[in-house]
């Protein structure tokens, strides 16, 4: 994983790592680490140190040097790295105390102040090794295909997962814009033009008027919701009925209400609308 480096030089500029682990956003190449334990393990391996007997002072100075080099490049150092720096310094100071003067509030650390750190490093190293094996397995499995992928993995049928972090806010904005534009489209469809004939309206008026001896109001013949064409057809129908002497219209007084009356067969002789 990590290129063995045996040189004694320890400046950060000499830290090397495989290309895929190098942060390339800056002109200076620096290995990137997953966390403080990863960095410590790297330093320990590079210095060929036995993990059970870490020269804490040496490692601490290497560690701090790395952090300083990150800061000199204005790379924000994660808080976890700083916590580990503090822990290293604490262990270092404890190591300096004579055995019998070490504070003993922690029973576990009564012996070697480094013990807890070593245990953490070893545990992390176990999972790191296994992670590497999993990576190798997955690489092999990349070239194993099954028919199930024709329907699932190929994106043609059900998308098994949605990677939200691969969708930028611009994508979302664009998607929403297209949604809005689609919503604004006028719904298309066949508009049926209402059809009225004079004959239909004549029949309708005659039917309404027939049993109304007192007549009905002229205005009542016209539906308030009616379209212009309907009003015109209705008026033509009324005129036609008057011409045929089927109805008569009367106005009781000047500018008064116009009413429409049925014409009885016997009355047919009477002229409509005096």
């Amino acid at each position: 994983m990590i290129a063995p480096e045996i040189t004694a030089q320890s400046t950060a500029a000499h830290l090397t790592a495989p290309p895929d682990r190098v942060f390339t956003g800056h002109p200076v190449r620096l290995p990137l680490f997953e966390g403080p334990l990863d960095l410590l393990l790297y330093l320990i391996e590079r210095e060929e140190i036995v993990i059970f007997d870490i020269p804490i002072e040496h490692i601490t100075s290497q560690y701090l040097e790395y952090l300083a080099s990150l800061e000199s490049l204005n790379i924000e150092v994660a808080g976890e790295f700083l916590v580990m720096a503090a822990q290293l310094l604490e262990i270092k100071s404890r190591m300096l105390l004579p055995q019998d003067q070490r504070p003993e509030e922690d029973e576990e650390e009564a012996g070697d102040p480094r013990a807890a750190l070593v245990a953490r490093l070893m545990e992390y190293r176990r999972y790191k090794a296994v992670a590497e094996e999993l990576r190798a397995r997955a690489e092999l499995q990349r070239f194993v295909f099954s028919r199930g992928e024709l329907t699932n993995g190929n994106g043609h049928h059900d998308q098994a997962y949605l990677m939200l972090n691969e969708v930028s806010t611009f994508d979302l904005w664009a998607a929403f814009q297209s949604l809005l534009s689609r919503a604004r489209e006028t719904p298309t469809g066949e508009v049926v033009r209402p059809r009225f004939t004079v004959a239909q309206k004549m029949a309708a008026i005659a039917a309404r008027v027939r049993w109304c001896e007192d007549g009905i109001r002229f205005l009542d013949l016209f539906d308030e919701q009616a379209t212009l064409i309907e009003l015109i057809v209705t008026f033509l129908a009324l005129l036609e009925l008057i011409r045929l002497r089927r109805v008569r219209v009367a106005q009781q007084r000047l500018l008064g209400e116009i009413r429409v009356y049925p014409v009885k067969a016997s009355e047919e002789a009477c002229p409509a609308g005096e």
Binding site: P36, M84, F143
Partner: protein, 205 residues
């Protein structure tokens, strides 16, 4: 296919001794199994095969063993994935298959792989427990793993804050070509300076 028949016969004979009642399995059930597995979208469990072919689970396992043996040296293999059987191509011929057809594949980052390894070996495990082992915040890799459905939530731990516990999924087994988590590499197989390997940190069978 016809030139394969003699070979099928001989393999059939070879496996007969291992099966309890060989006479009950007509030879064409083997061909039927191949046809079914060819069209199956997901790994088929032994019990499912038994139901489809109308045979006993023991016979299904024996038939699968025969088919796997017949695929030796062929472009296909019969793999045990997530507790079932699946016909898939052999990795060495994958580059040719990829010219024809490229299913979506993803690569996990180191952070995600580390996190996944911890979940796989310590499941069910909580976020703080993962953070403690890795020494860094693992929110982002956990979210990635959840999105790829390699891990899933598995209830809450009866501990302060009732943190969510995570475990691996069938997708995880498929992605790494594993039959079960028991097939994961042994965690304590490390250099000699590791004397205090925790015996309980082995994947549950």
């Amino acid at each position: 296919m016809s030139q394969l028949e003699p070979e099928a016969e001989s393999n059939h004979q070879a496996c007969d001794q291992a099966r309890p009642e060989p006479s009950l399995i007509p030879v064409d059930k083997l061909a039927a199994l191949e046809a079914v597995l060819f069209m199956a979208a997901e790994p088929l469990a032994g019990a499912e095969i038994a139901e489809i072919l109308d045979i006993t689970p023991v016979e299904a396992e024996a038939l699968a063993g025969q088919l796997a043996a017949q695929y030796e040296g062929r472009g296909l293999q019969l793999s045990r994935i997530a507790g079932g059987y699946q016909v898939c191509t052999r990795a060495e011929y994958g580059p040719y298959v990829a010219k024809l057809h490229q299913p979506e594949r993803f690569r996990l980052s180191r952070a995600a792989l580390e996190t996944l390894a911890i979940v796989a070996y310590r499941q069910p495990v909580t976020r703080p427990e993962i953070d403690a082992i890795r020494g860094v915040n693992s929110d982002s890799p956990l979210d990635t793993l959840l999105q790829y459905q390699l891990i899933s939530e598995a209830g809450r731990k009866e501990a302060p804050g009732r943190p969510i516990m995570y475990c691996t999924t069938e997708n995880f087994l498929g992605h790494f070509g594993l039959d079960s988590v028991a097939d994961l590499p042994q965690l304590d197989a490390l250099p000699a300076d590791q004397s205090q390997a925790d015996p309980e940190e082995r994947p549950a069978a």
